[in-house]
């Protein structure tokens, strides 16, 4: 069996694929958050950044790559989950943790599915639709609705929960078990999840409650 088919068909190979895509998506999150924070600098800088991105000839390539990462991560992780469900056809009448599972690990599928629904709404609204007045106004207007803000904050909380387990789990999947490095990675993962959640959730809250911008 070649490397590629082993990656796609074996349990361990598929896990590695999910983890690899997941970590690369974490890299995307950092870049995305950086761009979003320009909102705080106002309409000019933010729209210039957005237009710069749209004019970049490499954008379609990056978007296809990003979509590929999401698709691979979602499709393979759902396939794994389906197999895991089949692996225990009769469930326990009583099941109690002996210690080990965390809130993050228990809710990977739930937080993932919430993220998926968020992604559909988010990409549709801010990427697919045309924005005649520029992206800045579209974003600021959208966040005048408290329900919309709530949806965004909830999705970012789900993202934080997802990453609180996912980040360190990915490194374990890559085979990391160093007695000092692994605890460090765990802590880094928690800090990263918290930073990403707070960073992304702050913007809709800011736009709704504090920003003095165009309405």
């Amino acid at each position: 069996m070649g490397v590629l088919s082993s990656l796609l068909t074996s349990s361990i190979g598929r896990k590695i694929l999910v983890a690899l895509a997941g970590l690369l998506l974490c890299g995307f999150l950092i870049a995305h958050l950086g761009g979003n924070l320009l909102l705080i600098y106002g309409e000019g800088p933010f729209n210039r950044y957005a237009q710069g991105l749209e004019k970049n000839p490499l954008l379609p390539l990056a978007e296809v790559g990003l979509a590929g990462l999401f698709l691979a991560h979602i499709a393979v992780s759902l396939k794994l989950r389906h197999e895991n469900r089949q692996a225990r056809p009769a469930s326990y009448a009583m099941q109690r943790s002996k210690g080990g599972r965390s809130w993050g690990s228990r809710t990977m599928l739930l937080s993932g599915l919430l993220l998926l629904s968020f992604l559909v709404v988010h990409v549709w609204h801010f990427r697919v639709q045309e924005h005649a007045d520029g992206l800045y106004r579209a974003v600021m207007n959208a966040f005048q609705s408290k329900y919309y803000v709530l949806f965004y904050v909830a999705a970012m909380a789900a993202l934080g929960l997802h990453l609180s387990h996912g980040f360190q789990s990915a490194f374990r999947t890559f085979g990391l078990s160093h007695p000092r490095l692994l605890p460090m990675i765990r802590k880094t993962g928690f800090a990263f999840s918290a930073a990403i959640t707070v960073g992304f959730a702050l913007l809709p809250l800011w736009a709704c409650f504090w920003a003095k911008g165009p309405r």
Binding site: S11, I16, H165
Partner: protein
């Protein structure tokens, strides 16, 4: 002591349900399995069928005993098998739910007995050394770093009970396979077949219908021999190494 037992009864491969049994006059110093022996004697004397369950050594070394007790494989304590659990661990009057290990790869046989030979088939696929290693070599002729010797020993402590599978939310067998791959990969005698072993054992593990690891670490918590999660990480490393280097390409083809 008296207890209310809720025990899973199942005639054959299908069906089954929890049946309630009241039991009293149990000494706090009998083991859980001895308590079940007492129950069975009373059931048989009443003309009822005994509860089937597995056990052999009853001292925590053979891996035959199983049982999920109040939702936990091998009961509430860490680092011990069901046969090492004593009734003093419970309170008088407790309700105790007893179920079999549940996984598709462990088909039910009867009551609390399941067929764990899937684990044996994984060993048969590669968890061995083919050459005759002869009698013990002269001391220090085969150099083994001390840490490796100790880690190999820790991994070799696995008794193949399957509690890791029972505890895993995904019914994955990665801790068992990780331990079995590790203890040979860490020693020079395991070197020649290192790649072939991990590829073949992984293939057998998947074809038995075990789930996929999501690093929940419930297996480590349930393992009576306290086999560590690092064995799963090593299994991942060994598998990647063997797949990428493909030094033993024919073996990896065979196992496809």
């Amino acid at each position: 002591m008296r207890f209310r037992l809720r025990i899973w009864r199942q005639k054959g491969a299908e069906g089954g349900r929890l049946v309630d049994y009241e039991i009293d006059g149990i000494s706090p110093d009998v083991s859980f399995l001895e308590m079940l022996d007492v129950l069975n004697e009373r059931l048989v004397s009443r003309g009822q069928e005994a509860v089937a369950f597995d056990s052999d050594c009853r001292e925590g070394i053979c891996g035959m005993c199983s049982l999920v007790i109040n939702g936990q494989p091998h009961g509430p304590d860490r680092g011990m098998a069901t046969c090492q659990l004593y009734m003093r661990r419970f309170k008088d009057g407790d309700v105790i739910v007893v179920e079999p290990f549940r996984a598709r790869a462990f088909p039910p046989v009867k009551d609390l007995v399941v067929d764990r030979s899937a684990l044996d088939r994984i060993i048969a696929a590669g968890g061995f050394i083919s050459i005759n290693t002869g009698s013990a070599p002269e001391a220090n002729t085969v150099a083994v770093p001390k840490q490796n010797a100790e880690r190999a020993m820790d991994s070799a402590a696995c008794i193949g009970c399957g509690a890791c599978v029972a505890a895993c939310p995904n019914a994955a067998a990665m801790l068992f396979v990780g331990a079995k791959v590790s203890h040979l990969a860490l020693l020079p005698q395991g070197g020649p077949e290192r790649d072939r072993r991990v590829l073949a054992m992984r293939a057998q593990m998947d074809s038995e219908g075990f789930g996929n690891c999501t690093n929940e670490t419930e297996c480590e918590a349930a393992c009576p021999k306290e086999i560590k999660m690092s064995n799963i990480a090593r299994l991942n490393r060994e598998y990647m190494r063997a797949s990428l280097l493909a030094e033993d390409y024919t073996a990896s083809k065979e196992s496809a």
